[in-house]
Symmetry: C2
Subunit: 450 residues, 2 copies
Amino acid sequence: MLSEKNKILVDSIKRLIRRGAISHLRKIVNKTHAADLSVVFRSLSLQNQKRLFNMIDDIDQKGVLFSELDEDTFIDLVEDINLDSLVDILENMQTDDVADLIARLPEDKSSAILERMEKEDSEEVEDLLRYDDDTAGGIMVPEFIALNQEMTAKQAIESLQTEHQDVEMPFYLYVTDDNDCLMGVISLRQLVVVAPDTPLKEFMTTEVISVQPGVDQEEVARIVARYDILAVPVVDENRHLMGIVTVDDVIDIFRQEATEDILKMAGAGEEFVETKSVIRSTRIRLPWLFASCIGGILAFFIIGSFEESLAKYAYLAAFIPVIMGMGGNIGTQSSTIVVRGLATGRLNIRDLWPVVFKELSVGIILGLVYGTMIGLVAHIHYNRVELAVSVSLAVISSMSIAALVGSLVPMIFARLNIDPAVATGPFVTTSIDIISVFFYFQIATILLGV
Amino acid sequence: MLSEKNKILVDSIKRLIRRGAISHLRKIVNKTHAADLSVVFRSLSLQNQKRLFNMIDDIDQKGVLFSELDEDTFIDLVEDINLDSLVDILENMQTDDVADLIARLPEDKSSAILERMEKEDSEEVEDLLRYDDDTAGGIMVPEFIALNQEMTAKQAIESLQTEHQDVEMPFYLYVTDDNDCLMGVISLRQLVVVAPDTPLKEFMTTEVISVQPGVDQEEVARIVARYDILAVPVVDENRHLMGIVTVDDVIDIFRQEATEDILKMAGAGEEFVETKSVIRSTRIRLPWLFASCIGGILAFFIIGSFEESLAKYAYLAAFIPVIMGMGGNIGTQSSTIVVRGLATGRLNIRDLWPVVFKELSVGIILGLVYGTMIGLVAHIHYNRVELAVSVSLAVISSMSIAALVGSLVPMIFARLNIDPAVATGPFVTTSIDIISVFFYFQIATILLGV
């Protein structure tokens, strides 16, 4: 298991650090994949991170480590590295990763780095920095292979052997016309299979799926996933090839977006806070609880307005939790299903009414089931039919309204181009709480005849 | 945008169906990528799905469509297709996709299909069916290229040109010894770059990351993501190459696991229900609400036991929603952060106490902030210090306990090898509700001196 492997690695590195076994440590650090080292780093103090980092001999490994580290760790670590070594490491990395890192650094540091980099490299980085880092332009890499359509297969193979050494993983070979416009794509596989003197244009695939640089990264990821491709070319409005987005970045996008959605739905911010300090993580979470605080205070005024009923029938209060809980839970079910359905493309924004109607039906059925059950418990305990009916009706209305609100709000938000995940958590739950409590006391007041 | 493209496609296909424009429809169906068609199918009746399906000329397209369809749609669609055409389509598909589809069909149908398939194909499928479909063995494909390490680069290229035509996308070439044991890996790129008479063993990468067939698919996906590779070989205990898991499957795994986690955390089942009928989706969601129903009934008995306090101070009831709401929300934050942190590897199961301690600190700080605020509102409204203090203390204790329970429960579940996502939603919220309500009435009863 990956996690067991990590555990063993963390343990042995910590032991070696305690013992001060430098040469041993150096050996293990240089034998370990940088992706694994980045996990070890999470368990080490900054001081030990720096010691370990300086032990790495291979400049490529340092680069991989940089791109795998958490944002805060990277910023801390980089502070002690002198500018020249830093520039050396960055120049050996993939351009999109460099752009990501530089965007995280303070202005003065990042411009100092860009100045020292080779002109060609720094220009490529600056090109990427021009785009939002969650668009195709911000995540594309300029490392791709483009060949003229008149070339033969043999010439193409020769050019692979002599040029394009910077392209580490040539997924596809893009084929262009004399104006550098994207005309087709061929796989390496096709290249070695056809007769050597066949021109590329004769066997290239001409229907190339491509995106423009402004396209949102989630959209790019969905395209790569839908068509099972390894990379998607980014082209400008004249179909000039600007870069490619590769499948490894697509995986990262999906994981990152899933995390963001999950956190937003839970009303826990948009970024993962657990690796931050208590104070920072408190500050990020604080505002997300505000909606539920305001909602709770509203509910307090609503219940306060029924004080007369409560004074007469104190036991009415005992059913507040179950009514709020059932409503809240089915509302969360509905909104989660809708938000995830929209994110994965299983639900379509256009189907607003069918989706909401279906959720409402489910809410009514489940409301009837649980409303009857809870009403029965109330009846057995207090032996008052009006109370049992009030509670039943309150559960049924609470659950139906919750399913309605829980599905309607995210669908409407999506239509208005507001991220439905943000809308879902505290917002939906809080509104459901307030509505449920109001209906409950209204029904009870009428039926019990206060 | 992908979704706009779909919208246009769905609209034009529906229009053509209404008009009965068969030849037009046939043209558009055969021009559209099967992955896009599968989206259109979701908006069509079964009858129209069948009509469209029969218009597809290309057998490969039919295969892609099969593997992209929702489970229910596939089963319905397949019913009308005669066995021979079905077998034809399946034999042209990737083995792992065929195994997935066959596993969905009823026993009699699947054995009939396997009998009619060519022996080699059906054996490969049955090999895959032997493994759990969420393990490396269940998702691997037998389509890979393995070459003997003594071969030269030139011979390897020749073998690509003559054999292995069934391998559509040769990510890597695996290198084996005379016993068919995995010894190394080379990329197509390396193959065309080295001198033609170099033996493979001289330039292959010998440190190959591989997995055994029983490894969980999530683990496989994490390995592919961590090391940024395009495929991972599956080997038995003697390092015999059995198959490969490719990056396109890894993307699907991450998306599927994220959806499952999100649904479980929201207490909405483990599978996406929105595409199912109202009755089926009600049945799946029903049991997940049971925990919260039981919890609500427990809370009812707890509050009932404080009936005396309530009869005296009816306004105590007015604060139940805000106390439950604040506790529930911060509990959801904590459990979500922990569950997602464990899923992405940002948090380690071993760090139970640091994680829980940190969450508790955050809970206490946020409790103090919101407790003071809500206490002030109570004081302004009722002008009773004891009440204000009771409410403040209840919010503080509720939020602290919620953060504690919300982080502790998923950490413990993960240690016990129970999926923490299941534990999180209704279970945590319900326990927090009960504890919060109990503490509130206990504190109020003491302070107000009932």
